[in-house]
């Protein structure tokens, strides 16, 4: 229905005018519901130099329900679950916070901004969040190491 029309519209918008350091493409050309986002670690962040692969999955009833964002590249971040899912779920991605007019461009931007400035108060990985708050140096070191190790080159 109109949902896929909107998705196509958003996709054109994002691909024709992508946010800095990102590249968006469909995993499978025939399915507009699964997007692959390639995100370069922002220069000013500890993830600089990293190339992160994110999966943006749009539910069947998108935009009524929020998209699901997963980091496929391992990342040391308080807001990204440190498991094979690498899920990020905060702010507008929460189903009770999501509003249909939110756009995927905004979601991608939010993910990018979170790399620059993590949100330890709304963390999935509380241990990392604690470290981020109490021992920033150690956090940054590990984050850099992981970036080098897991997100160095495709």
């Amino acid at each position: 229905m109109s949902a896929s029309k909107r998705i196509v519209k958003e996709l054109t918008e994002v691909t024709s005018n992508p946010p800095a350091g990102t590249k968006v493409q469909l995993v499978d050309e025939s399915d507009v519901h699964v997007w692959e986002v390639l995100l370069d670690g922002p220069e000013q962040s500890v993830y600089a130099g990293g190339h992160f692969k994110l999966l943006l999955t749009l539910p069947k009833d998108y935009p009524f329900k929020p998209p699901v964002l997963n980091f496929q590249t391992k990342i040391y971040h308080p807001n990204v679950s440190n498991d094979d899912k690498g899920s990020m779920c905060l702010g507008m991605l929460r189903s009770d916070e999501w509003k249909p007019p939110n756009k995927l461009m905004a979601v991608i931007n939010m993910a990018r901004n979170l790399l620059i400035e993590p949100n330890p108060d709304d963390a999935v990985e509380t241990a990392i969040a604690d470290q981020y708050k109490s021992n920033r140096q150690e956090f940054e070191k590990t984050a850099r190491d992981w970036t080098k190790k897991f997100a160095g080159r495709k």
Partner: protein, 628 residues
């Protein structure tokens, strides 16, 4: 002359080309009418004074608002109703081009509004302006110039804002017409606009869009319908709010103190707005019901029907049951003052306020003791939901006190008659009713023939059956019973009570499996037990009567009668003579005692006797097993 006529005709036809809405009079070709829309650039502030003491408000209208009105306004500011109108009923211009126009005569003009909201002095001034213009134009054609002048004046709001403190006073009786006009005009304008729906990201005509009543955000109707219908179907009431991502957030920030209440109130939509969008009535109905349910559930004072199959909420004035959508549409359920949750007073409500009636099944009950309504003059106490009901507790106690668990499957067994060789009705295990020992199926009676065993020669003890008067009591407990007992022991006070009830076992001693075999020398412990439990046991009997009879019937059906030849039934089942004084009570014929006990119980509970008197008489008979 002919020239002049041509000039008039020419002018009017030119005007008609510019203003197609100009209507020429059929009889007089030089008479025309045009409605000029009044949409001031900045909304006009209109005051509708409430008629005071029936004073004709019209007089206010006729006298030009002046300083004296301002004084009044200040003194009676409160009861005045102030509205800001962007659209007002049009200014109607009647214009007649007389013979001799334009060279000799000025056009005759007449201005009016319907209803007459524009003050007379204003219209008079506007009318006068026509002649002035005509003079200014050197007696030339002025119709277009005049219309243009009027339009500009209308856009300035006829400079009404500069007088009377920026307010136009209009009689109350024109209020509805003016407001309606404003709304209608706004709607028309809205319908002609184009909006980008934030959901489908398509540009949509205003006619297929909806503007949120409270915040003014615009979305297209199909998207709103899809979203809200979906949310209502899923029962997600909290999502029924404006879809704009930042909507309501600013306001929440502004009103930091009353955040919690504001948030709730401002967000979910009024059902009437859903109907406006429009949503199906059934969906809106469901929305209203869901909302009400949420409110009921979040209100700690809500009382629910104690009937387990019903559990509807009791009728309440605060959240009236929705039967008719039009009712709720009128009342703005969101603006209803959401009373902050009152701290439930620890004191019980006064007896006059204890009656509750279930709105679903119409059951009238007491909200304190949750039993059927007992009138205002009965003292009652709260019943905790965690407590077992009187009936359940009685059954449980009875089972614990008066049955012997099968040593294999723990099914509670009660002997109705016969010898103490039991055959479990569930698993067919052979066991001894007195001590719970397993018996050899091949020769079960050997157990009673061994002089060194506690049950020696006691095969026929309690031959008439254990009627639940505590003659036989086993401490054996099933797993869950043991767990409960352990939990109870942890709770010292509770534990004590339970233990006392259980028998003479000291508190803290876990219930053990079959009691050590008795010897005939010992006074049978059951007697002591009986003494201790007499009060409780007899009390229990009342409630248990039905239960017992059912059990008896069940046992009769399931338990094979003992293979021994029937013996005359003995009422005194405990053979120990030492028990005589204590047992005398218990041994008395049960009928009178039971009847009396029951009567007392009923008096206590203010109940009516559901028993047939026949039944009472037959009670003893009911216990008998026809002998074969």
């Amino acid at each position: 002359m002919a020239n002049q006529e041509d000039e008039r005709e020419e002018e009017l036809s030119a005007i008609t080309a510019i203003f197609p809405e100009l209507v020429l009079d059929e009889k007089n070709p030089f008479k025309a009418t045009i409605d000029l829309p009044v949409a001031p650039a900045s909304p006009l502030t209109v005051v509708f004074p409430f008629p005071v003491d029936g004073a004709p408000p019209l007089s206010n209208l006729l006298t030009p608002p002046g300083s004296d009105n301002e004084g009044r306004k200040a003194s009676a500011a409160a009861p005045w109703e102030i509205r800001h109108l962007s659209y007002l009923p049009p200014l109607r211009l009647h214009i007649i081009l007389p013979a001799g126009y334009p060279a000799e005569k000025a056009p005759q003009v007449q201005l009016s509004t319907s209803p007459a909201w524009l003050p007379k002095d204003v219209t008079r001034n506007l009318e006068a302006e026509c002649a002035e213009l005509w003079e200014e134009y050197g007696h030339g054609q002025v119709v277009f110039a005049y219309i243009d002048y009027l339009q500009q004046a209308a856009e300035r709001g006829f400079d009404l804002a500069e007088r009377a403190g920026g307010m136009l006073e209009v009689a109350q009786d024109m209020k509805i017409a003016l407001l309606d006009f404003d709304i209608e005009a706004k709607r028309e304008k809205f319908e002609q606009e184009t909006f980008d729906c934030g959901v489908c990201l398509e540009p949509k005509k205003g006619s297929s869009c909806h503007r949120m009543v409270r915040c003014g955000h615009v979305f297209c109707v199909p998207c709103l319908q899809d979203f809200y219908n979906n949310a209502i179907t899923e029962g997600d009431v909290a999502s029924i709010k404006c879809l704009a991502p930042d909507c309501g957030k600013d306001r929440r920030g502004n009103t930091a103190q009353s955040t919690q209440r504001k948030k709730k109130r401002e967000r979910t939509l009024n059902p009437s707005e859903l109907l406006q969008i429009p949503l199906e009535r059934t969906a809106v109905q469901r929305y209203v019901e869901l909302k009400r349910k949420k409110k009921l559930e979040s209100d700690k004072t809500t009382v629910y029907c104690p009937r387990t199959w019903c559990q509807g909420p009791a009728r309440s004035k605060k959240y009236p049951k929705v039967t008719n959508l039009s009712q709720i549409v009128e009342s703005d359920s969101d603006s209803e003052t959401e009373t902050p949750p009152k701290n439930e007073p620890k004191d019980l409500p006064p007896s006059a306020d204890r009656l509750r009636i279930c709105e679903d099944c119409n059951y009238a009950f007491c909200r304190v003791c949750l039993s059927g309504w007992h009138g205002e003059f009965v003292r009652c106490w709260p019943r905790s939901n965690t407590e077992l009901t009187e009936e359940e507790k009685a059954s449980y106690d009875y089972i614990r006190l008066h049955t012997s668990p099968c040593p294999t499957c723990s099914s509670p067994c009660q002997k109705t008659m016969g010898c103490n060789h039991m055959n479990c009705f569930q698993c067919r295990t052979h066991f001894c009713y007195l001590c719970g020992a397993w018996l050899d199926a091949g020769n079960p009676y050997q157990h009673f023939n061994q002089p060194d065993k506690g049950c020696y020669m006691r095969l026929w003890e309690l031959e008439g059956g254990d009627e639940g008067n505590g003659e036989v009591h086993f401490d054996g407990a099933r797993g869950w019973e043991a767990a409960i007992a352990a939990a109870n022991e942890a709770d010292a006070a509770q534990g004590n009570q339970d233990q006392n009830r259980d028998g003479p076992a000291p508190p803290g001693v876990p219930p053990e499996a079959p009691r050590p075999p008795r010897t005939d020398d010992d006074p049978p412990p059951v007697v002591a037990l009986q003494q201790m439990q007499l009060d409780e046991a007899t009390e229990l009997e009342n409630d248990l009567w039905n239960d017992i009879r059912q059990r008896q019937a069940l046992d009769r059906r399931l338990q094979r009668p003992a293979p021994q030849p029937p013996q005359p039934r003995r009422r005194q089942r405990d053979p120990a003579p030492a028990a005589a004084p204590a047992a005398a009570n218990a041994a008395a014929p049960p009928e009178p005692r039971v009847g009396l006990q029951r009567f007392l119980q009923m008096v206590r509970n203010d109940e009516e006797d559901g028993w047939d008197s026949d039944e009472l008489e037959d009670v003893d008979g009911g216990w008998d097993i026809p002998e074969r």
